[in-house]
């Protein structure tokens, strides 16, 4: 491993920022178009009110809250997986950590939009914050919705700092390489990091502390989101399994999204030397394990609904696979429980097209899973005379699609402004691998 190898790694990694193909512009164009369409739909809701949504008694939470929960779920596995791989000293972290952490921050920023849109008078969202005001009113700190505000803002702050701290060496590297107006920008962003032995020692001391903070925070945040539902007495929601069920679902959907993003990066920027088949094989095994946990929680939910003897609870669970939303239930089972079973076969784990297909199915399945438990409980709870049916309207669907556009827009901009794979960690990894005789020089 000589200086030329390090220069090559640096060139390959930073190439994602300088090389822009027509595929990138096409993807960015599509994503921005979705954002524009979603923005127009939101402006309709702002001008005409919440009546443009399909929300009405008894279903007051619909596609927007579903998308919020979905994106929060996706966000949770990025930083969590990165931190766990860090503690495991896994060599896989160098390739997938940065993208996963960026995915976390971007998905939380996307998820946070949906409750703001959902409340209708979005300009008053700051009412949920605790600030001194003339009315001498304070948030209700006993409410899970207030817990959510604190949990999510804490998580996005810590995740962003975790991502930023890990990028400092690469930002310093960029400050040395770029020219013009970007040089002072990256120099400022690097906080003066220059790679002295003391700084590396300090970073190696601070990073595990951060990873240790991030892991319980990630688990707690999705638990708190689950308590938005579980703390109520609604049949189908009031369950102690909700927190672990949500955390498992979060990891499941996050891994599927990570596979999709990494596959896109690998193909789009010819990063086959760095994002390798064994990375996808590892992620597919995690996906399979998370799928089995999810299937177990689905079964447990049904068992407990009938075992506990609550007629309302049992009725909701009887209605899910047989009622008006039965097609959603069976779609969820096919996408989340059956499709990932294909990962038991080594050939599937080694096939990128197969993994991408399964990840798309899982992403679709997880969105509909969130939709299923939110809507069916509200549409079919205690009072039969109060049962109803919810169907998202066109503006709701467009706003949800706009969220996906927003997510991909931010991610595509991220990979143009920052290295999507850690350069310093890849150099360290290649150096260690060459010494251990694992790899021939020239292969990261």
């Amino acid at each position: 491993v000589d200086a030329r190898e390090h220069t090559r790694i640096e060139r390959d990694m930073l190439g994602t920022m300088s090389r822009t193909s027509w595929r990138y512009w096409l993807g960015l164009g599509l994503a921005v178009s979705l954002v524009v369409v979603g923005g127009v739909a939101w402006s309709l809701a702002l001008r005409q009110g919440l009546g443009v949504f399909g929300l009405n008694e008894p279903v007051m939470w619909g596609a927007l809250i579903t998308t919020f929960v979905f994106f929060i779920g996706v966000s949770h596995s990025g930083t969590l997986v990165s931190a766990i791989l860090f503690f495991a000293r896994s060599p896989l972290r160098a390739a997938i950590g940065r993208s996963a952490e960026a995915m976390t921050v971007i998905t939380i920023l996307t998820a946070g939009l949906y409750p703001i849109i959902h409340i209708g008078r979005s300009w008053l969202f700051y009412f949920v914050l605790a600030y001194p005001n003339q009315r001498q009113l304070w948030p209700n700190f006993r409410s899970p919705l207030t817990w959510d505000v604190f949990a999510i803002t804490s998580y996005v702050t810590v995740s962003a700092l975790f991502l930023y701290m890990g990028m400092l060496p690469d930002l310093a590297m960029l400050a040395r390489r770029v020219t013009g107006w970007r040089r002072p920008l990256y120099r400022a962003l690097s906080l003066g990091f220059s790679g002295t032995d003391s700084e590396w020692a300090l970073l190696e001391r601070a990073y595990p502390i951060f990873a240790g903070v991030v892991i319980p925070l990630a688990v707690s945040v999705h638990s708190v989101v689950s308590w938005d539902f579980a703390m109520s007495v609604m049949p189908g929601w009031h369950s102690s399994i909700f927190a672990p069920y949500f955390v498992a679902g979060a990891i499941f959907s996050g891994i599927a999204m990570a596979i999709l993003l990494l596959a896109g990066l690998r193909r789009g920027y010819r990063l086959e030397r760095y994002i390798r088949p064994e990375h996808f094989a590892m992620l597919s095994k995690l996906l399979l394990a998370a799928s089995l946990v999810m299937t177990f929680t689905y079964a447990t939910e049904f068992f407990m609904a009938f075992f506990r003897g609550s007629e309302a609870e049992a009725d909701v669970f009887r209605w899910r696979p047989t009622g008006a939303y039965a097609w959603v239930f069976w779609l969820v089972i096919v996408c989340n429980s059956l499709a990932p079973l294909a990962c038991f076969w080594g050939a599937v784990r080694r096939s990128l097209p197969a993994l991408v297909t399964i990840s798309v199915l899982v992403s679709v399945g997880m969105w509909f899973e969130r939709f299923l438990f939110i809507v069916t409980t509200l549409a079919h709870h205690y009072l039969p005379q109060n049962w109803g049916f919810y169907r998202p309207t066109v503006p709701e669907v467009l706003i949800c699609l706009g969220g996906f556009g927003w997510f991909f827009t931010l991610f595509l901009l991220f990979i143009k402004v920052f290295p999507s794979i850690s350069v310093a960690e890849t150099m360290e990894r290649e150096h260690a691998a060459a010494h251990a005789g694992e790899l021939e020089p020239g292969h990261a």
Binding site: D2, F150, T157, V158, P169, D197, S198, S220
Partner: protein
């Protein structure tokens, strides 16, 4: 006092060899600047009193917990609502936000402390050495006073032997 000796290596292993030779020659305060955390960065003497970082983070975490408890207790007493049968000071319910803010303050304190300590630490390495580093350049800095006296020749030889 003579200027510090700044030597540039293209290979991290060569820099590590030079550092080992320097330590064998009695030079334990050489410094290294590298764009990646190669094993050589662990071969320099005592990089700093970084265990203080853990204590600072603990202080931040405790501050977060206290702030969260006070925020919820004082504002709940200021607006005395009994919600869902829960008392005004509903500590089990307050536990969630106490937990979140504890971790938030710990994380932010960790980052700020790391940034400040790093800014102080890098000042001890000459600017020329920090400017010379690159993906293909690893820099070893020997303090100027080591280049005086009888061990100077051994130091220079150690640096030279590190070269491939």
């Amino acid at each position: 006092m003579p200027e510090p000796r700044v030597t540039i290596f293209a290979d991290p292993d060569a820099a590590a060899r030079a550092l080992q030779r320097l330590q064998e020659s009695g030079v334990t305060d050489a410094r290294l600047v590298s764009s990646a955390p190669f094993p050589a960065v662990h071969l320099t003497g005592r990089p700093g009193p970084w265990p203080v970082l853990g204590k600072v983070v603990l202080g931040g975490a405790v501050t977060g917990a206290v702030c969260a408890a006070l925020l919820q207790a004082l504002t709940s007493r200021s607006l005395g609502l009994v919600v869902g049968g829960k008392p005004i000071l509903a500590w089990p319910a307050f536990g969630v936000i106490i937990f979140e803010l504890t971790l938030l303050f710990a994380g932010v304190t960790n980052f700020l402390a790391m940034a400040l300590l790093a800014a102080a630490a890098r000042r001890r390495v000459p600017t020329a050495a920090r400017a010379a580093v690159g993906s293909e350049r690893i820099v070893v800095v020997v303090p100027g006073e080591r280049l005086e006296g009888p061990e100077a020749a051994a130091v220079l030889r150690a640096l030279e032997e590190g070269r491939p």
